[in-house]
Symmetry: C2
Subunit: 473 residues, 2 copies
């Protein structure tokens, strides 16, 4: 066992024996064993004990662990947390709250001591029980792959790995080591009370499964190991798929390109959606199968109202080929669209300009030229962000949309479109339409800025005086 850990430690602690390791120690058999093995291998460890303040005995336990650390020649730090208050505040279970505060403490200490890693003492049996626990509760690959020898990034750090050097060591081996070295753990009674479900697995389910396969624990450990490796491959793939799909990301809202998402295989689609949910709800530990399923179906075939509830206070919204995942009350960003926020009509100074929000500007100039020349320039303009009119168009006004607005596009003589249909054709997102800047002259819309010019007031072959309008950012 010692040799196995020595080999593992070389891989898990790239800083070697020079840089310290922060070791989470409860005083139970696992952490006591790990602390001693690492000390005997020459690693410099700080033993960190976290007092959950849940039991009368925890003060005494902490002192016992401190003595043990001294005996092992290790440094010692103690932390304390108001687990019950933290649980109530965050709506967490006691176990969940304790875990969260404990890891925060360990990583703070590791940072403070410039440790190369945080080590914890989960063993091979813990791994098997973790797999079973996830299996019973319902899980995918991530749950079934259990814990990893080394996790980086982890929820607490992007630089300091969380490592588990005992992950391939069985409880029996640990007990034999303690006995051989005359080490007496401070038994952690929380094993009995707060972790009931896990204990039932250990004492009831595992022995039952052993009647089917006496080597079931080894088999399950190997399963977790295999799945862990597969998970790493999938995570890397999912990260690439995410980068290809994500079109917008800000606090409380994320948008994905529905077409690109739809082209990915379903296994990756799920993972991309889970990354999106995780970005919005980083503290969510298990993402519901049904929630991801809903998001998948929504992205593939959005409902008529283009909106749906997701889970955990999040909603889904469909917008012109984008799937939004956002907090329920979050107003989706106006992104980079031009918007007119005035009321009623506002005159566009010509020559001159009008400032719009988001550093958009409408600029107008008067251009004189020979008959034919201006017509040619207007005709050859391919840019929807520019429009050319005969000077008779003046004065020009800007306003937002009104109910019943219609529009006769350039080159479609006699055809009049509803403005809403034009917006749909042009894929202008629904919520950008309300305040989209419209140029009007004599009461009629002459330019849907950045989209389409009207037939009215177009530059004619004999025009010698024109107005050139640009929408710029």
């Amino acid at each position: 066992m010692r040799t196995r850990i020595e080999i593992l430690a070389r891989e898990l602690f790239p800083g070697g024996r020079r840089e310290p390791v922060l070791l989470g120690v409860s005083g139970g058999p696992d952490s006591l064993c790990l602390g001693h093995v690492l000390a005997s291998l020459g690693y410099r460890c700080t033993w960190a004990y976290f007092d959950h303040s849940l039991r009368y005995t925890s003060q005494a336990e902490g002192e016992a662990v401190e003595r043990m650390a001294r005996e092992a020649g290790a440094d010692f730090v103690r932390g304390q947390g108001a687990v019950e208050a933290y649980a109530q505040e965050g709506g967490l279970s006691i176990e969940e709250a304790g875990r969260s505060l404990r890891y925060q403490f360990l990583f703070e200490q590791a940072q403070a001591q410039q440790a190369q890693a945080v080590a914890v003492a989960h063993n091979a049996n813990d791994q098997v029980e973790t797999l079973l626990m996830h299996l019973l509760r319902g899980a995918g690959l991530d749950g079934l792959s259990g814990m990893a020898f080394s996790t980086l990034p982890n929820p607490w750090s992007a630089e300091l790995p969380l490592v588990r050097p005992l992950l391939s060591t069985w409880r029996e081996e640990i007990e034999a080591y303690l006995k051989e070295n005359h080490l007496e753990p401070v038994l952690d009674p929380s094993n009995q009370d707060t972790r009931f479900f896990r204990n039932r697995l250990r004492h009831e389910l595992v022995p039952f499964l052993e009647t089917y396969n006496p080597h079931i624990q080894t088999a399950l450990w190997q399963t977790a190991d295999l799945l862990n490796e597969d998970r790493r491959v999938l995570d890397a793939q999912a990260q690439r798929a995410w980068e290809q799909c994500v079109t917008w990301e800000e606090p409380g809202a994320v948008a994905l390109d529905a077409v690109r998402l739809g082209e990915a295989p379903r296994g990756l689609q799920r993972r991309v959606l889970r990354i999106a949910i995780q970005k919005l709800r980083p503290s969510l530990r298990d993402i519901d199968y049904a929630a991801v399923q809903r998001a998948l179906e929504f992205a593939a075939a959005p409902p008529a109202n283009a909106s749906a509830d997701l889970a955990a206070g999040l909603r889904l919204e469909w917008e012109e080929g984008w799937v939004w995942l956002a907090e329920r009350e979050k107003e989706l960003p106006a992104l980079g669209w031009p918007q007119f926020e005035g009321n009623g009509l506002e005159q566009l100074p010509t020559p001159g300009e009008m400032l719009l929000p988001g550093s958009w500007r409408l600029q107008a100039e008067v251009v004189e030229g020979q008959a034919g020349e201006l017509h040619a320039r207007a005709q050859s303009n391919p840019d929807p962000y520019q429009a050319w009119f005969a000077a008779e168009v003046l004065p020009l006004f800007v306003r937002a949309r009104q109910a019943g607005d219609r529009f006769q596009p350039l080159g479609m003589e006699g055809h009049s479109l509803k403005l809403s249909d034009l917006f749909t054709n042009q894929k202008v997102p629904r919520r950008a339409r309300v305040r989209w800047p419209l140029l009007v002259s004599g009461g009629a819309i002459v330019w849907v800025a950045g989209c389409r010019q009207a037939e009215a007031h177009r530059v004619q072959p004999d025009t010698t005086r024109a107005v050139h309008v640009k929408l710029v950012k």
Copy 2:
């Protein structure tokens, strides 16, 4: 349930209602239900019954199934196989042999009837039990992902999919459907006898797990579903990795580039090795964790003797950066290397050529030129497949290696190398060395063909008559 199957069938049977479906029917509740539902949805089905010839009752069962098919308005075919004999012959279990013969029969029939697919009636409970069975025996992602709605290619065909339209339908729903439609299955007694392990899962383990989570069957079904999707992503990745790693493939032997293999993440390395094993042993259903592990470790750090046993009559061999997986007795191919298969010395006609096996040729010509010119040409030759000598080198002979051969490379005056060291430096595979063609003159090696020229007889600045030798294919 009928609606769910209708939606699924649209996806699973791209040929629609026009093209026939071949349905494997045992007469048990599942296949009876599937046959009736597909008939009621308008699919043209042929019911195929396979008589395992294992029971006295199977003749009567077949007749009962035939009546049922008639009642459902379906065609009927019957097959028969000597399962026991087949099992003994192939060293298979009775169940394994029956399964193999049954699927062979189904796919032969499907081919004969130009069916669009072979459908079988596995249900959602079967899926859960399959997952558990694999979990208990020890499995990775592939085993835990259970069965798929549609599998193509499958072990029996590259064109005809094997589909399972009932895979998301629970046994309870099937029974309710049969009751409602007054359908009476021929109960399949093999459920009780040959599938003991599965039955113990069904009647003992599943109810036990339900005490942990009453919805465990749904949870496990979803797990299989998720893993199935992940498997598809990984399979596609593994196929790409395989194509990048494989350097040689022939019946009984496969070689992988060890460097490229080593660069892939471990999860893919395993899959590439499993593809290699599958190519050599296509009938192997479960590839052992330990075998793949051995191959992985071998590829990462080959043992001193460059050879090891793998599993299932296969061996591993290391050769200059290539990992071979091969049948134990298989002689590895000589690949494309130049080899001299004569005995003793053979003169190289100059000018002229000598034919070597595998369409290799040694060509020699005499070149005359001015002093300095030939020297310059010899000096500027970067190609190890060509050598230049002063004409004094003639006559040239070709031979294979002899014990104690030494060699003084061009440009390393005074240094003499063992030929074996030169071969190692040049990464010449061990078994290509014995018959590697060597050019000799006056008893000394002057060219290790295709590798390195000797110092002796080199072209000098005053040489006006040279011999130019080429190794070509």
